[in-house]
Assembly symmetry: C2
Homo-oligomer: 326 residues x 2
């Protein structure tokens, strides 16, 4: 039992930053006092080596990606990061160097994003490294931005750039051999270490009717908003904001419409797709810009269901094998 | 994306029991309103196939064990079950029958213990089935029972019986060949499906100074109380409460003191070990009995550190290979 306490004291207790909620990790639970006037927003994501990250990714980056994918959910909900619970299943034989590197990654992003470790569980597994984190954030009571608030006539916007996460996975696995080295490096870095758009949270709470983070791909996550809101979303692919690296990739593709649909289908962007009434857009874009985050208007909310995409006025149809000209 | 929604709608949405916190699982987060006057108690446990349960255990029982091991933590803290978040990493090729059985197990114990699903994440894994659950419970503000409250002079008590969880693992794996068939069945059932002692929670909040659930083994979990409280615990092994099946096993062992120490070292009992001032013990035992749960006095809290065990007045010493006569 000394081992268990030593292990927790060495690798995890420093990550509580002394939060009283964590009870120094000496208890089998954490205790969170009520905060009248605020709602607690809770999100949970799991990552498995070989599925959600590459088995040889450095463990500090894996730790940071675990926090960031969950922080991205909090950002989309307009929530202020508070604390988290961590479950780690270590493959047998994981050494101190790996554990130290993992902890260092957690600590770096906890400091960057204002997050404290409140508790968790560490087990061993005969399988691959498996992680899950439950993140908690605060919003003023009733102010959480939901997926379900989009209304016909509103504008669809997206933060940052789209497609870099998915192209980044290809870059990180050597599947973008025809790209410039600086683009390969930029894209791979973007895949390994997404940037949660927490700077958007006040603008979202003030102006957005619905929001979701782009983790499954823009079209899929726009579809989540459509489904939860009971509306349709129409997206103009030529309006997608792209990085220089993605633009260079696009220039090498034969079919720009299909290639844009492909970028909109890739995951791991961790941008925010949102809807807002037209009269709110100017203020929303200005507040986002003041936080250093670009927003691009990419479509509109319509009556109906699902997501429709067009390229320069021509509709694209979803087929079994992807998107094609309609 | 239809698949993901269909999957969640089919297997998990029914488990929300319509809780508004879950937002019909259409969002990427849950939202919990503040409850002034109450603290939120949070506990997280992970289970991996082949490590924490047997790979061929029926999945409804695995699901129930996942909830029950976490409910046991809430019970030890004196908390009322509220809701939970679930992360499941399914091995590739997991079919509908397995998923249905897993969901049915969750539903059965959610109804039994008053728990609603608020959210989670489902992923696939090339490794074994891996589960983690984050459970939430309520206690009146400041009333959570901690590990760290034991004081010298107090009494150490334990609920139910000790050793059945560990003997049950042996029974379930065929390693108790010399036991009576009815004992093998009873022990294996106890291992597969522990009973969280939630009926104790008011008695614990009213009378206990410290408590922990017995998941790592009585001696280890008593050690957790000793460590967190900065005290020592002295346990009398002859006072351990045993089931008929464990008593029959004990009668077949050559060294009763060593055998009792072995029972106190096995895990998976999911009883509660607790401390209380001597003047509170009568009321505590009476309230527990009224809830149908037996409490046995098994030792005392002393100045010092760690756990000491004795058998009929003779101290036992902890060695590298186990417990021995001192």
């Amino acid at each position: 039992m000394g081992d268990e306490f030593d292990h927790i004291a060495r690798w995890f207790k420093p990550l509580t930053f002394g939060a009283p909620e964590a009870l120094d990790l000496l208890d089998d639970a954490a205790v969170l006092p009520s905060r009248p006037g605020f709602d607690l927003v809770v999100t949970k994501d799991a990552l498995v080596a070989g599925v959600h990250f590459l088995p040889d990714d450095p463990l500090d980056l894996v730790a940071r990606k675990l926090l960031r994918t969950n922080l991205s959910d909090l950002a989309a909900k307009g929530a202020e990061p508070y604390g988290y619970f961590l479950a780690v299943a270590w493959p047998k034989g994981t050494g101190d160097e790996d554990r130290a590197r993992f902890s260092a990654g957690l600590e770096a992003d906890q400091r960057a994003y204002g997050l404290k470790l409140f508790g968790g569980d560490t087990v061993s597994t005969p399988g691959p490294l498996s992680l899950s984190a439950t993140l908690l954030g605060w919003v003023p009571s009733g102010a959480m931005v939901r997926r379900g608030g989009a209304r016909p006539g509103e504008v669809v916007l997206v933060s940052g750039v789209i497609g870099d996460g998915g192209l980044g996975l290809r870059a990180a696995t050597g599947a973008l051999a025809d790209a410039a080295p600086e683009h390969v490096a930029a894209l791979a870095g973007r895949y390994r270490l997404p940037e949660p758009r927490l700077g958007l949270r006040e603008a979202l709470r003030g102006h957005a009717s619905a929001a979701a983070d782009v983790s499954d791909g823009l079209l899929a996550d726009a579809g989540h908003i459509a489904k939860a809101s009971g509306v349709g979303l129409r997206l103009r692919l030529e309006a997608l904001p792209l990085s220089d690296a993605a633009r260079a990739w696009l220039a090498r593709q034969r079919d720009p419409a299909g290639a844009l649909a492909e970028l909109a289908s890739l995951g791991d962007d961790y941008e925010i797709v949102l809807t807002a009434p037209a009269e709110q857009v100017a203020a929303l874009v200005a507040e986002a810009a003041a936080a250093g985050i670009a927003l691009a208007a990419i479509g509109e909310v319509v009556a109906g269901e699902g997501v429709e995409a067009s390229f320069e006025g021509r509709p694209l149809a979803l087929t079994r094998r992807g998107w094609t000209h309609g």
